[in-house]
């Protein structure tokens, strides 16, 4: 360890603001990117499923109306 105490570590030799700002924004941006990417993927899969169910419903409705018009 390069620092004598934990508070010295936090102080970063007087550059605390710049060092912690950099690391904070960096990892904040990276985490945000990860969260958004996963969120997007989940949403997409959900919308695929929705679209699929809609197609099934359309098909069923069509068959029903065919059946009733045939009678």
């Amino acid at each position: 360890m390069q620092f004598d105490s934990f508070s010295a570590f936090l102080d970063m030799g007087g550059y605390a603001f710049y060092v912690w700002l950099s690391f904070g924004v960096t990892f904040g941006a990276m985490i945000l990117l990860v969260v958004l990417s996963f969120h997007q993927h989940k949403g997409l899969l959900k919308s695929v499923l929705k679209e699929q169910q809609r197609q099934v419903r359309i098909k069923e409705a069509r068959e029903k109306s065919h059946a009733s018009s045939a009678r």
Partner: protein, 249 residues
């Protein structure tokens, strides 16, 4: 020689490859970033001139190098898409673009936060800084151009041309510190003779660099999977996949 690559032109195979690679990439990213950051912040020796402010190097240099690396990878993907008419190549191109843009933003931001205590200014219109800012605009341009087309095959071609043309900016960024008088210091590790950094400072930097590289790979696989699902929505295998995921959750 490139025959092993051919199956991955098929989206289903590319998707499966992403799924297989992903856990390893995340593991590598987490491990390397944790080790590199802790080592760099707490255990690496102080710089004799810059004191502890130099510790920003452990995120600034990896993100800056890989913002260029990702751009080159993106341009190669665009070239492959154009030459061999691979749809998956365009998909990987657009999967990489936002990741590279975030890396460029990080490089610019950490550079500003390092410049303020060292140079006394958050920003100067210096060759290195300006060319890196242009890189950010190139990424944003590629993303915007791709988004502007309804037909995604056309979108891939247009954005691909832009990505390829933008490659001229990469050597400009790299050599900007040599070609122009600049506030920015010269290269630290990418010099051909000897890196101008002590080994006990270099090791955490290299580990950090690998961490960022793994991270970019991991996020790209996630985004590529999304892009494939978006483009192949009506394929049976995607529909099966969507059903399987909804049953699991």
């Amino acid at each position: 020689m490139w025959k092993w690559l051919h199956p991955y032109a098929k989206t289903e195979n590319a998707y499966q490859l992403c799924v297989t690679l992903q856990p390893w990439l995340w593991l590598g990213a987490l491990l390397c970033l944790a080790v590199g950051t802790v080592w760099g912040l707490a255990f690496a020796p102080q710089d004799y001139q810059q004191g502890d402010s130099f510790r920003i190097i452990y995120i600034h240099v990896p993100s800056a190098m890989l913002s260029m690396g990702t751009y080159v990878a993106m341009a190669i993907a665009a070239l492959v898409g154009m030459v061999w008419q691979w749809r998956t190549a365009y998909m990987s191109m657009i999967a990489m673009a936002p990741v590279g843009a975030v890396m460029t933003f990080i490089a610019l931001f950490t550079g500003a936060a390092w410049g303020k205590p060292m140079w006394g200014a958050w920003w100067v219109w210096d060759a290195r800084l300006t060319s890196e800012l242009i890189l950010l605009f190139l990424y944003i341009g590629v993303i915007a151009l791709y988004g502007a087309f309804e037909d995604k095959q056309q979108a891939g071609k247009a954005a691909g041309v832009m990505a390829l043309v933008g490659v001229v900016n990469i050597p400009i960024i790299h050599y900007s510190v040599e070609w122009w008088n600049t506030l920015h210091q010269g290269a630290t590790i990418s010099k051909f003779d000897q890196p101008s950094i002590a080994p006990e400072m270099l090791w955490p930097l290299l580990i950090s660099l690998f961490g960022f590289a793994f991270f970019i790979g991991a996020v790209t696989t996630v985004r590529l999977r999304s892009e494939i699902v978006r483009r192949e929505m009506h394929r049976p295998w995607v529909q099966k996949l969507a059903q399987a995921t909804s049953e699991n959750s």
